[in-house]
Amino acid sequence: MVRFRLTSLGMVLLLAACGAQPNSSTASTAAPEEAVTITFWHGQSGVLGQRLQALVDQFNSTHKIHVNASFEGSYTSGQLQQKIVAAIQAGTPPDLAQVPGPADAAQFVKANAVTPVQQFVDSPDGFSASQLKDFYGPFLDDNRLVVKGKKELVSWPLSKSVSVLYYNPTIVQQAGVSSPPRTWDQFQQDLLAVKRSTSAVPLEWTPDLYYFWAAYMRGNGGDILSGSLDKAAFNNDKGIAALQYEANLVLSDKTAVVTKGFDWQNDFANGKVAYSVSTSVSLPYIEQAMPASGKFQIGEASLPAGSVKAGNTLFGNNLLIFNKAPQNHQRAAWLFMKWLTDTDQTVAWALASGYLPLRTSGLNSPTYQQKVAADPRLSVPLAAVSSGAEGVQASADWNKIQPILNDMVIAALAGRKTPQQAVSDAADKVNTILSGY
């Protein structure tokens, strides 16, 4: 009799376990944390590196998992990427790494070096559909790639930013401009007004394909590559018009000055420039460069819109798990990523780094709302994200395509080629690369 009761109890428990929802992320269904040490390569140096390390230390002090985080080279200049490629070649990649964006993730997916995070998202350690909605859609879309014919989350967002327009309110008011431009045509007129009425440089920036050829083109419904990522999609009137617009500013209107790297920041910080274009992360750096006697409140606005939308571009970096790591390391890496992007941590990282909170709950948190109340500019980039920002297309050949497009922009701005010729030549080269000669 006792044996029968025990057997029945066992069957009940077994049935209960089978009936548990696989997508629920309640602690009761997730396995307990294992004490493992994982390696995390990142590309944040200086102050941002210290702040990221502070978050890592906080995680280590409250979890059994121990994360060994190390700066392995800047992710913006390709140094971190180079380290990762070398490590994959040597068969010794880290458990977890920061990657610049979907294009780099696509390269590593093509090399069969990655464990897509979708399996963790769908696991008891992951999120329910309603919990996933807390994340800003564009940030998750930026991490979805096609793997074996199916689009899924491959990497996970960490630091996201968006292209914005910075302006000097004093100079633009002097020129009679009362508000940031909503359209590209209005922007052109505002630059001419600044040139007519003030001695400031109307626009100074370091141009590349993102600032702002892609923004103009995408805002008018165009795109860089086709949906299947197998051919150039910019060799048309939209791509040419976008390049013509920029070239006109530099060569015809002479309202725009081109600089190298971050040189524009110094002139802008010294009050010599009316407008500049960069990412939302640049704000603290510009403010740092201001002389003590010449501080001013920098204006921030979304990039102007085209006929379809404001084509703001998403930047920043994501997190990736490598499949060479043992299973328990991969799970530990996911748990760390999940914690790092939890509401409190995403707010802390956003406020410490200048990147954006990844979740609506982060934006609505009392801490962040307090900061927004003190500085309403903090809400501008997130509004830009919500109005249709997108990242680079997830082509594994993107690192080969990007310099061609940058050269295309510079060739037109330097007057070496007409926009039509520049676009046509660039499209030929891009198609050659995508055809895998």
Partner: protein, 346 residues
């Protein structure tokens, strides 16, 4: 010798074999073996760090190889290189870079060596002064020169403004160096003429010459010291002086030194990377592997860009192999053109 009473009888001992001297062949074999044994450590290092990587690089060039090894493509990477205008342009820039820097640095090095050989006071101080750049980190020097040439805040434009000349874009200027006196605004991109070198590349060549002049000076000083004094004295007795002494005695006897420096400098310039990377492209300032419009993307920078920035390992390896063949061809050219004219005092 009488046997001692009670002692064991002495046994007859045959005389020792005479020592035959080793045959010349055996001696040469032994000496050669000793020589190879002494060479072993160096051969192992050269084999591991030069020969093996070169052979492996050729192996990689036969594949489509991005993050990991992909399909075997044979010589397709090489075929693509032959039709790649970017690679052709990089090779042209390298040739321009060599032609614009090597003769100048050798000529200035020779001139300085001749001056220092006059027995000046503080000669050692000047020798150190000219040699200092050569023993300083190329990266550190390039970073400083980058600021000197900064279009907005650099010393170079400050000097130009002082003498009422228009400021230049310098490292940003993709216009031709010959148009440097055209009216231009510093930091602006403007319509360039097409012939290299650009002002950006010319600025880098200036830094290169400044960096290597000291090395050439020191080597030429050594060459000048090796010229037998009797030869110059005999020439003076015959009435040679000044330029004629230099032309008919000193310079011909310096041909071994010139020949050596020409080969070393040409190979160095063709593979030059550090200075060009820091000043002309690379990193956050100008993208991963080249400045806008790539007017400074010499061959080494092209290879770096394709390998590390665009992750085309197979293609970049093919480019590296082709570059090594071009350098070999230039070296053979040097040997044939200049080697035959080398003269010695004895």
């Amino acid at each position: 010798m009488r046997p001692v009473a009670g002692a064991a009888p002495l046994e007859a001992v045959s005389p020792p074999e005479p020592i035959r001297p080793a045959s010349p062949k055996a001696r040469r074999r032994r000496e050669a073996l000793e020589g190879y044994l002494f060479l072993c450590p160096a051969l192992v290092i050269i084999g591991l760090f030069y020969v093996y990587p070169a052979l492996y690089s050729f192996y990689v060039s036969l594949f489509r190889w991005e993050v990991v090894q992909e399909a075997f493509v044979g010589l397709r990477n090489y075929a693509h290189l032959l039709h790649d205008p970017d690679f052709g342009h990089s090779m042209l820039l390298s040739i321009v870079y060599v032609a614009g820097s090597v003769p100048i640095e050798i000529a200035i090095g020779l001139a300085l060596a001749l001056l220092l050989h006059q027995g000046l006071r503080a000669r050692a101080f000047f020798r150190l002064l000219y040699f200092l750049p050569y023993i300083t980190s190329q990266v550190a020097l390039s970073l400083v020169w980058g600021w000197i040439f900064n279009a907005q805040y650099g010393v170079a434009n400050a000097v130009l403004r002082l003498v009422h000349l228009p400021p230049q874009g310098w490292l940003l200027a993709n216009n031709g160096a010959s148009s440097v006196w055209q009216v231009a605004s510093g930091g602006h991109l403007h319509a360039p003429d097409a012939a290299p070198p650009s002002l950006a590349l010319a600025s880098i060549m200036l830094v290169t010459v400044w960096f290597y002049v000291g090395f050439h000076t020191v080597v030429y000083l050594s060459g000048l010291s090796a010229i037998p004094t009797e030869v110059t004295e005999a020439a003076r007795i015959d009435g040679a002086a000044g330029f004629s002494l230099f032309r008919y005695i000193t310079f011909p006897l310096l041909t071994p030194t010139t020949y050596f420096l020409l080969i070393i400098a040409t190979i160095g310039a063709m593979t030059s990377f550090n200075i060009v990377y820091i000043l002309g492209g690379g990193g956050v300032q100008a993208g991963c592997g080249g400045n806008p419009l790539e007017t400074t993307k010499v061959a080494a920078l092209f290879i770096f860009d394709r390998f590390w920035c665009q992750t085309e390992l197979g293609y970049a390896s093919a480019a590296a192999f082709v570059l090594s063949l071009v350098i070999l061809a230039l070296t053979v050219l040097n040997v044939r053109a200049v080697g035959r004219r080398v003269a010695f005092a004895d």
